[in-house]
């Protein structure tokens, strides 16, 4: 699996030729888009709620420093530890240090896209620590040594048969003749295998959907219950999350929660919503003895105060992916990054740099559906266009594209000359046309690679109009 975002074009070509992937991606519409549409319809005042969510997130971003410090104070007061990581490397070392300090070698993990973003698993594996993913989808892709292809459905690119094959190859200790063709059998087997890991783990790592400053709490949304087992059973719990997840208080988090589950899975609420506010207190019967929160920046603050800042409103619901026709065509792996689809297109150039992620904002028709479904009203196409403008103004843009555009603009800015050029092009196209279409031209190879060009009339409107008068 090639995880290079610079190879988006090659990756997407390979993805388009994968018939299984096409079937899997077809479920975006039936599984996610239809679910969201139903949930939104059932909710009175959805647009007002979106506006509230936008305002809450904008307040967070405008007060990020003070909210994070407030979060730290309140979390620390209850015995939790807050760590600050400027980038992925710092975050990885912080996590490693905590695990080493606790002598934790058996790790369970779940619900953290930030851990994917910073490449935590390969880093720990190289040091002899193998975290076991406990979310079913994440577990499946971990067995296949693939990254998640979707931020809330890590194994969305797979079909049931793929999972059956994966389990047969991985769970060799189980009888070879067992039946695992059905979804329920697959879930039961994963549960049985994961149970052993839950029982033996001495540290658990999760993400967080929101951090609340006033309570010093972290909130986690799950459907499988693995998040709760991961945080409750081991002695040490590490929450790994992005700094932008903070909001003022639980009440604000509750508003965002209403937007999140409906936008993500079409649920009025997820099966589990867990608020974690520190280690087990005196008199409590469960919970971890050690509680750590690692706050990761990793390029986020670079976006503050820029035209791309609004992407930091994101609450990771994946509605933009689920409604993106480009994502629906190529899937998540083609992007070669953790954050894909419109979210990735708006975020990655800022956090990874344009030379790495320049394809992402370009691979959009600007159809605008992402912005339409975004629960916190991120103007995603506008931010993608911002990156294209940055690219055009820099040396990242291919010289040929810039030359072509310059030539076209030269004519377009000179109407008299343009009319002559248009008349010529129209006639030339007509000349090359046969049976109502142009099949190929030496120029415009990329148009003719996949389609013909319907034969033009041969005279421009402006010349016919002048002649008519």
């Amino acid at each position: 699996m090639n995880l290079d975002p610079r190879r988006f074009r090659e990756n997407s070509r390979a993805a388009l030729e994968d018939p299984g992937l096409r079937i899997a991606l077809g479920r975006l519409r039936t599984h996610f888009a239809a679910g969201r549409a139903g949930a939104v319809e059932r909710y009175p005042g959805w647009e007002e709620l979106r506006e509230q969510g936008r305002a809450i997130r904008d307040y967070s971003l405008a007060n990020l420093d003070t909210l994070l410090e407030q979060f730290e104070r309140n979390m620390t007061a209850r015995g939790g530890h807050v760590h600050w990581a400027r980038d992925g490397a710092e975050a990885r070392h912080i996590v490693l240090a905590i695990l080493q300090q606790r002598n934790a070698r058996s790790i369970i993990k779940g619900k953290s896209m930030v851990s994917e973003e910073i490449g935590l698993n390969p880093f720990l594996e190289a040091r002899g620590i193998v975290p076991v993913e406990t979310d079913l989808g994440e577990y499946i892709v971990q067995l296949r040594r693939e990254p998640p292809s979707h931020i809330i459905a890590p194994a969305f690119h797979l079909n049931k048969e793929d999972v059956t094959a994966t389990f047969r190859a991985a769970h060799t200790e189980l009888p070879a003749d067992r039946s695992i063709a059905e979804r329920s059998e697959l879930v039961a087997e994963a549960r049985r295998v994961l149970r052993q890991h839950f029982e033996s783990a001495n540290a658990g790592i999760t993400g967080a959907n929101f951090l609340t400053a006033a309570e010093g709490a972290t909130m986690l949304v799950t459907n499988e219950g693995n998040g709760d087992l991961t945080r409750l059973l081991p002695k040490t719990h590490i929450v790994l999350t992005g700094i932008e997840k903070v909001v003022a208080n639980l009440e604000q988090a509750a508003v965002l929660l209403r937007l999140l589950t409906r936008s993500a899975t079409g649920q009025d609420i997820s099966s589990y919503v867990t608020v974690m506010s520190g280690p087990r207190a005196t008199g409590e019967t469960d919970g971890p003895e050690n509680f750590h929160v690692v706050l990761v920046d990793n390029g986020r603050t670079h976006l503050l105060g820029t035209q791309a800042q609004e992407v930091l409103r994101c609450i990771r619901c994946a509605a933009c992916l689920n409604h993106c026709p480009v994502y629906a065509a190529v899937g998540g792996h083609a992007y070669g990054t953790t954050y894909t689809g419109p979210l990735g297109a708006a975020l990655n150039p800022g956090t990874m740099g344009l030379p790495i992620a320049h394809h992402h904002p370009n691979a959009s028709t600007f159809c605008g559906r992402c912005a339409e479904v975004c629960p916190v009203k991120i103007p995603l196409p506008k931010i993608m266009r911002h990156w294209r403008a940055r690219e055009y103004a820099s040396s990242v843009a291919p010289a040929s594209a810039r030359r072509g555009l310059r030539l076209w603009a030269f004519f377009a800015r000179r109407p008299a000359l343009y009319r002559v050029a248009a008349k010529t092009v129209s006639r030339v196209l007509r000349l090359f046309a046969c049976d109502g279409r142009v099949r190929t031209l030496p120029l415009f190879r990329d148009w003719f690679a996949v389609r013909d060009f319907p034969a033009p009339h041969g005279r421009t409107f402006q010349e016919l109009w002048t002649a008519r008068k």
Partner: protein
């Protein structure tokens, strides 16, 4: 209504270059709706530059269109995409140009997509033309989401004698044209076109009608490459009673 409004027709560069019939259909519909139509000298709205991030040429073209069109009572384009560029994006492209910014706002306020202009502004509610067959309507994303045009073309087409409208399963999904996207990522664009064409074929339609020539050229070009025998027309041609003339890409 007293004086006939003066309408500046923004033909669009694609209609000018490829299918002037659409321009004449637009003129006919506007004149029937009581407008005086003029066609000032024009090139392109600048969207290809704007969407490529080429801010300077985009702003130059925006100023050029403002200069040419601001004296009209209305500006009308047979395209939601070009109208959307003028209405939504000129103010962004000229945000640092204090002289032109108010003029961009004024132009945006009187610029319309053709079919919505006929219905919303001119109160056109009926048509008396014929077009025999079953058609699906292909919304352009700009018409849908930038110009909020959805019901208008369907309302007028439903009155065309002999025409049955059959809805796509997913009318809100992009067809994959996306301007330069279609040549930057041709294979992805191809898949999106194929999904749209499959959807269109499943409606039982023998005719696809749309409001943006860009999408239609891309889809018809793909149909020609794949040998899909569906006819394709711009909505203005059908409403102007020009459905007897050869459809897009017919000799």
């Amino acid at each position: 209504m007293t004086a006939r409004p003066r309408v500046g027709l923004f033909v669009t560069c694609l209609v000018d270059l490829v299918r002037p019939q659409i321009g004449f259909a637009a003129v006919k519909l506007l004149e029937q709706a009581g407008c005086d139509v003029e066609v000032p000298v024009q090139t392109c709205c600048g969207q290809p530059a704007w969407n490529s991030g080429a801010d300077t040429p985009a702003a130059d073209l925006a100023r050029q269109v403002i200069d040419a069109f601001e004296s009209f009572d209305y500006v009308v384009a047979p395209s939601g995409s070009c109208a959307g560029m003028i209405v939504r994006h000129y103010v962004e492209a000229l945000t640092n140009d204090s002289a032109y910014l108010p003029r961009a706002r004024a132009l945006a306020a009187k610029t319309h997509e053709l079919i919505s202009f006929l219905m919303r502004v001119r109160g056109v509610n009926d048509v008396s033309v014929r077009c025999i067959g079953t058609a699906c309507y292909q919304d352009s994303c700009s018409s849908l989401r930038e110009m909020n045009v959805q019901d208008e073309p369907r309302a007028l087409l439903s009155q065309v004698e002999g025409l049955t409208l059959s809805e796509l399963r997913e009318p809100e999904v992009c067809c994959g044209f996306g301007g330069l996207f279609s040549v930057k990522y041709p294979e992805i664009s191809e898949r999106m076109a194929d999904e749209k064409i499959l959807d269109a074929q499943a409606t039982g339609a023998d005719l696809m009608i749309g409001g943006d020539l860009g999408c239609l050229l891309h889809l018809k070009g793909r149909m020609q490459r794949e040998g899909v025998p569906m006819r394709v027309r711009h909505v203005a041609e059908v409403l102007a009673g020009m459905a007897d003339e050869p459809a897009l890409g017919e000799p």
